[in-house]
């Protein structure tokens, strides 16, 4: 059952990613990206990370995509990629390069360094502190994430808020029309 769900969602995710890259209309691309992000959210659910799945929907589908669509609507593009492409040979080179990258990534992931089951991970034996999570605190549970976020990672958490503030100020300066 879980496997069926995984494959269904995975196929949808790959198809929507291809749709984003292949469709000329950026609005369609944005909608494909929404589908893709939703698929990734479902995969997070399958991995037991409920909080992330919902955060993914709120942050990506609810906020980031809305920003994208807003920008697309403001710019009303659609004529950018219709003219002749002077760099077409270079661009087509990207496809084999992407394939090579995919091959490399698959090889690395299948190698014994990162892939192939937890027992072969160097330095990690079953029962080591990493694996010794008390069953009461489920790893995906929102409680453990919250404790980590406001405990071990408190400093990073606070720095993130400064980052968001900096982004806010930066966007305001960039987007402000200069007074004549």
């Amino acid at each position: 059952m879980e496997l069926v769900t995984f494959f269904g969602v995975a196929i949808l995710a790959v198809a929507s990613a291809l749709g984003l890259v292949l469709r000329r209309n950026p609005i369609h691309g944005a909608l494909f990206l929404v589908v893709n992000l939703g698929c990734v959210a479902v995969l997070y659910l399958l991995l037991g990370a409920e909080f992330l799945a919902l955060a993914q929907i709120i942050i990506y589908a609810g906020a980031i995509m809305v920003l994208f669509v807003f920008a697309i609507m403001v710019l009303i593009p659609g004529k950018e990629e219709t003219g002749p492409d002077p760099l077409r040979p270079q661009r087509l080179l990207a496809v084999p390069l992407g394939a090579v990258l995919l091959l490399e990534a698959v090889l690395v992931l299948r190698s014994h360094v990162v892939g192939g089951g937890s027992s072969r991970f160097p330095g990690h034996q079953p029962g080591s502190p990493l694996a010794a999570v008390p069953p009461a605190v489920r790893p995906g549970g929102i409680e453990s994430v919250g404790r980590l976020l406001l405990g071990d990672y408190l400093f990073a958490f606070e720095v993130t808020s400064v980052l968001l503030l900096a982004a806010l100020v930066g966007v305001l300066t960039l987007a402000k029309r200069k007074a004549e």
Binding site: A17, L20, P26, A71, A175
Partner: protein, 100 residues
């Protein structure tokens, strides 16, 4: 139970599609969306690794990546809009001079 290798493979596929998207497309908005695709693929791999070791730290990392992505999108889109206002067209090929 789905083995994590499947998740990491899927993440590799999505990442490669994102890379091709960045290289092939000319519209900065689509390139930007492809970058989001790559970020998401990386996030998926992180969560899969985290699930293998039963540690929630990976999820915290992904949460930070999402926050940074939100900031990045806001700034990036503002830059794209500013460029569009200046040049009235939108193609990355026009932006090779590293200046306004």
């Amino acid at each position: 139970m789905v083995p994590e290798t499947y998740y990491t493979m899927l993440s590799a596929i999505l990442f490669s599609i994102g890379v091709v998207g960045v290289l092939v497309r000319r519209n900065p908005l689509v390139i930007f969306m492809s970058i989001e695709l790559m970020l998401n693929a990386a996030n998926l791999a992180l969560v899969a690794f985290g699930a293998r070791f039963g540690a929630a730290d990976a999820q915290v990392l992904v949460f930070f990546v999402m926050t940074v992505a939100a900031a990045e999108v806001a700034v990036g889109l503002a830059i794209i809009v500013a460029i569009f206002r200046l040049r009235r067209r939108l193609s990355v090929d026009d932006l090779s001079l590293m200046r306004w």
